[in-house]
Symmetry: C2
Subunit: 274 residues, 2 copies
């Protein structure tokens, strides 16, 4: 399959991605908003509150089982379990629950992230929200770049909206405290130019950017599994997503996504000084 750019190849890969996301829904929803929800603290030693739930682990196991069946030769990298090597050149990158704090708080703004990396870049990305039943899909492969939203029988193409100026932009980030002191200062410098800043949506903010409802998302300290699924969704919808110096961001770190390339350039001009 490596290097296969035919449409039927895309269809098989997309089908596997959707099957994996489907498998995550039940384990995630079973434990959502249950008062018995047990969280332990992955980063207890560092003093940082980073809850990992049984749902997170069960959802990754369910996704891995599907991929082992449908795509046995592919590598798998997930947030919760050890990497599985492969021999096809493809790697699945999974974040079973992106936004564990939203999940723990009962807010329907966390997401299941499924990405397929072809060894060069993520070529398929899914952002799934099991509670609302929404799925945001992006495909950037073999000259194709598309993105769509589905919710049950409803389907629409995703397309970012024009917004060239920071002064017209709606900006999202997950926490008001963004990364290091220098990163915080860079973020604040952009924030001071935009029309509206909002907090707290994790991956869902990128999904809303792809939908044309939000103009700019800026974060720091991301992991590869936090960002790989977002890239095809944003790019497939016509947006731009890079690091703060315009570099490839598939390894995570500092990320800036914009619906409009001119807005992305305006944000980069400020952020690249950090």
């Amino acid at each position: 399959m490596d290097g296969d750019t035919r449409d039927d190849g895309d269809a098989a890969l997309l089908a596997a991605a959707h099957a994996a996301a489907d498998a995550a829904r039940a384990p995630c929803l079973e434990r959502f908003r249950q008062s018995t929800l047990a969280a332990d603290d992955k980063a207890e030693a560092s003093g940082r509150f980073d809850p990992v739930t049984a749902a997170d682990r069960a959802a990754e196991i369910a996704m891995r089982a599907v991929l082992a069946r449908l795509r046995p030769g592919d590598a798998v990298m997930g947030e919760e379990h050890a990497p599985t090597p492969g021999d096809t050149g493809f790697t699945w990158v999974l974040d079973p629950i992106d936004g564990t704090r939203s999940y723990m708080s009962g807010a329907p703004t966390w997401g299941v992230l499924v990405a397929l990396n072809d060894g060069v870049r993520p070529v398929i990305g899914l952002i799934d929200q099991p509670f609302t039943g929404e799925r945001f899909e992006g495909l950037v492969r073999g000259g194709r770049a598309t993105a769509s939203w589905t919710r049950g029988a409803e389907k629409r193409a995703l397309r970012t909206r024009p917004c060239a100026a920071l002064s017209d932009a709606t900006l999202f980030t997950t926490y008001p405290e963004v990364g290091t002191a220098a990163e915080q200062a860079g973020f604040n410098a952009v924030r001071d130019h935009v029309r509206l800043t909002r907090y707290g949506l994790d991956c869902y903010a990128y999904a809303l950017l792809a939908m044309g409802c939000v103009d700019l998302v800026i974060e720091a300290g991301l992991q590869p599994y936090d960002v790989q699924a977002l890239i095809p969704v944003i790019e497939g919808a016509g947006g731009v997503i890079t690091g703060w110096r315009g570099e490839d961001c598939q390894q995570g770190g500092r990320v800036v996504a914009a619906g409009d390339a001119a807005l992305h350039a305006a944000a980069l001009e400020i952020l690249s000084r950090v």
Copy 2:
């Protein structure tokens, strides 16, 4: 109807409240996530960004039409239109879209708020989220105090969770910038004691508190229509909601809601100094 505390009186009042919330759903959803969404700026002169959408106005008109038919003698007070006087002693307090910024950003965390005030206090409150299809209902009247959540055919009782200590609490507020400088300092003093602080959910944070997913919500600068529907939902679920000095908060202003009375007292001890 004034002073009617029989169950059948409650049932008729609840039916009218639900009919009003039902009527708001279509006008809200028709315009949700539409790129043609037009926002003007109610507070343009003050320089504050406060979008009011066509959806906001259309939803209030739809709710008022239902109430004029089902409860012709009741007064109506809404965010968007002039008050309607009544002669029954009951006043409906409506906020067609609480969380207009969430609405404009496409996030499913805004809500339609419907409250019924008996002249002394809000006795019925509904928090409706048309996109997720969720409705949070509270009734505090004639010795009854109940709250429930429905989504289509699903229904469950709402019950806050025990959490007596600030150090165990999840705190929500809508913006990191909370009210005046003094109010901000009071909020920050509480924030510095809690386990986790999250931003951005508007009325939905109070709904999640009633559901036992969140422990504490603190805000300032609220209007009566922002808070009246929340009071029966929080109290019906076993929580406490007051002003920052423990006073009645139905007129808005500074509000602190907690799922556990001991936690509410701990937060008040800090906030009452403001």
